[in-house]
């Protein structure tokens, strides 16, 4: 396995993209997109995180098993979040404190 050296130019480009992402996040937070504010915020954060993982952390050039580790960790996190939230979302009315009305009132 010969090591892949990422050029410093790539790093700079990624850095600039991350900055743009940060700016966009802040800007979007001050707009009213209703329930989509959180979606946008997390979406951008995820893109930023992906860039860091792929380039700064060289995941793009790493062996398959490293990529597998990354996928697994995210997948397990998703299991935890999804199944727990599924319980909260489908509770009988009394427990649907999570109901969208809470959010929509503020929107």
């Amino acid at each position: 396995m010969s090591e892949h050296i990422v050029s410093w130019k790539v790093y700079l480009v990624i850095f600039v993209l991350l900055m743009v992402g940060t700016g966009t996040t802040v800007w979007a937070a001050f707009q009213n997109f209703g329930p989509f504010n959180i979606v946008i915020a997390l979406g951008i954060a995820t893109i930023k995180a992906t860039l860091v993982v792929l380039y700064f952390m060289h995941a793009r050039y790493s062996p398959r098993r490293t990529q597998l580790v990354i996928v697994c960790s995210v997948f397990w996190l998703a299991i935890m979040l999804a199944l727990t939230l599924a319980d909260y979302q489908t509770r009988q009315p009394r427990e649907s404190r999570l109901s969208p009305s809470v959010v929509s009132y503020h929107a």
Binding site: W76, M80, L83, T84, A86, D87, T90, Q92
Partner: protein, 547 residues
């Protein structure tokens, strides 16, 4: 015995050479001593529980003390005995040997994880000593975070710390199995013990962090009066249960998978034939580890979780039973047309199968939604998990100790005495815990220091069984200790078995192998191993015969 081996080479026996060692084999022995201490503590507490329950009113202690007894029993047994037992003792000792490596990938981290375990253990013992712990091993909030007056904080800190020991062990195993295999040791030549530990490690690294953070939050809640899980301050106690079981259900597979690995080694060795369905057993370990993460809320069927969630989790709980079934059937099939002996490890392994099957099958009762409503939090549950954990996992651990004892110490233990101990264990165990299934169905709730008189007969039976069981544990402790000095010298491969670990001296040298081994044979393949000195099996039947 070889002149130099890991026990006496280099540094000799001095205490500092033990406390600073990075040799996985010595670290395994450090773990062996420490988990035994916790087993002993847990066992004494269990004995007190059983004596107390002899009479309906409670024969021994006050209610507070009784509650502390079972809590400390559960905490000591689960977090400080059973979870580290097989992985940290046998896994640590054997994985590098089995894959032909000189050590684990990160020897220093291995030692570190033992120290972490000890520090965590000290915190927990401190909590036991200063006020005890009366929350149940499940630490449900708000009882643990607000209402309990016992020493919850140090216990939680101790378990939090101990979690990292488990994480680091799992990490070490996975990396080692990935990168340190000897030439020729392909994935499908790995011993099933290694597969089981790979699966176990997956659970350790992906589950343990969640219990760590959960207990951290609960501890902070208790220390600083925060409200994460306290409804009085807006928190949600059910969320705690979700987080707790996200780890603690998969954790039951940390306990049983390694034991299954042990059995998968013992059975082919004493049946002297390749294990039936190697790839299915290997794959089922991984399947158990993965599906095991999807079933946690089956502990919460009556908390008021949503009906849909309950249905989902019940369904998935049944799925996770299938890979376990696969293992049991394959072990049984391995005996077919074998050349079976009943050396002590084999007796333990067969005992494991019997008790694990009962324990596992009673899991099916609990996973059944309509039935769990009635038996949840009764002695039925207590019986279920003791069957799997004590009858299954501990039996596997003791069996594994017997199997590899000659490798670890270079000596053999008395043959018939150890077989006798296995039988005592089996009988005592059933007498202790079978009555509890009936008790549970009759409606005796668990964690009760006093109970209605109609339950007394079964409780007395159970206590009687426990005293036989205690004897069953005492015996091996005595004769194994005895054998270290007076046992017969074992030689490198006393059984004989096919694994790589048996190709080196007993006890092995510090560097494990004098020359890096190369693997050219399939696992458990007696027929291509003239070096074992056995009559090469005459092919009486076609290799894939289904006659």
């Amino acid at each position: 015995m070889p002149d130099t081996h890991y026990l006496n080479a280099t540094y000799g026996y001095g205490i500092r050479t033990w406390l600073l060692t990075t040799d996985h084999k010595r670290i395994a022995l450090l773990y062996l001593c420490s988990v035994t201490v916790f087993f002993f503590i847990g066992g004494v507490l269990a004995t007190m529980i059983r004596i107390h329950l002899l009479t309906p009113g409670g024969a021994l202690v006050t209610p507070e003390t009784y509650n502390k007894l079972f809590t400390m029993h559960g905490v000591a047994m689960i977090f400080f005995f059973l979870i580290p037992s097989i992985p940290a003792v046998l896994g640590n000792f054997l994985i590098p040997l089995m894959i032909g490596a000189k050590d684990l990938a990160f020897p220093k981290i291995n030692l570190l994880s033992w120290y972490i375990y000890i520090i965590g253990g000290c915190f927990v013992l401190y909590s036991f000593g200063t006020g005890g712990l009366d929350t149940g091993w499940t630490f449900y909030t708000p009882l643990s975070s607000v209402y309990s007056n016992s020493a919850v904080t140090p216990a939680v800190v101790g378990i939090f710390i101990n979690g990292f020991s488990s994480i680091l062990t799992g990490l070490n195993f996975i990396v080692t199995i990935h990168t340190m295999r000897a030439p020729g040791m392909t994935w499908f030549r790995l011993p099933l013990f290694a597969w089981a530990h790979y699966a176990t490690s997956l659970v350790m690294i992906l589950g343990t962090p969640v219990i760590a953070i959960t207990l951290l939050l609960a501890g902070l809640e208790r220390m600083f009066h925060l409200g994460f899980f306290n409804p009085a301050l807006g928190g949600d106690p059910i969320l705690f249960q979700h987080l707790f079981w996200f780890y603690s259900h998969p954790a039951v597979y940390i306990m049983v998978l390694p034991a299954m690995g042990v059995v998968s080694e013992i059975i082919p060795t004493f049946a002297r034939k390749p294990i039936f369905g190697y790839s299915f057993i290997a794959g089922s370990s991984i399947a158990i580890a993965v599906i095991g993460f999807l079933v946690w809320a089956h502990h919460m069927f009556v908390t008021g979780e949503s009906t849909y969630a309950a249905l989902t989790f019940s369904f998935l709980s049944y799925l996770v039973a299938i890979p376990s079934a696969v293992k049991v059937f394959n072990w049984t099939a391995t005996l077919y047309k074998g050349s079976i002996s009943w050396d002590p490890p084999m007796v333990y392994a067969l005992g494991f199968i019997g008790l694990f099957v009962i324990g596992g099958l009673t899991g099916l009762f609990l996973a059944c939604l309509g039935l769990d409503i009635h038996i949840h939090d009764t002695y039925f549950v207590v019986a279920h998990f003791h069957y799997i954990m004590v009858g299954g996992a501990v039996m596997g651990y003791v069996g594994g100790l017997h199997f590899w004892w000659p490798k670890i110490t270079g000596r053999l233990y008395p043959d018939s005495l150890s077989r006798f101990a296995a039988v005592i264990l089996f009988v005592g165990f059933n007498l202790t815990f079978f009555p509890q299934f009936i008790l549970g169905y009759l409606g005796m709730p668990r964690r009760y220091h006093t109970y209605p008189p109609e339950f007394q007969v079964l409780n007395v039976l159970s206590t009687a069984g426990a005293s036989i069981l205690a004897l069953g544990y005492l015996l091996p402790m005595v004769y194994l200790a005895w054998s270290m000095r007076y046992g017969k010298v074992a030689g490198p491969n006393p059984w004989p078995a096919t694994g790589l670990e048996w190709k080196t001296d007993s006890p092995p040298p510090t560097e494990n192998f004098h020359v890096t081994p190369e693997v050219t044979w399939e696992p458990y393949d007696y027929n291509s191993r003239p070096d074992l000195g056995l009559a090469a099996g005459k092919p009486l039947a076609p290799a894939h015969g289904d006659d």
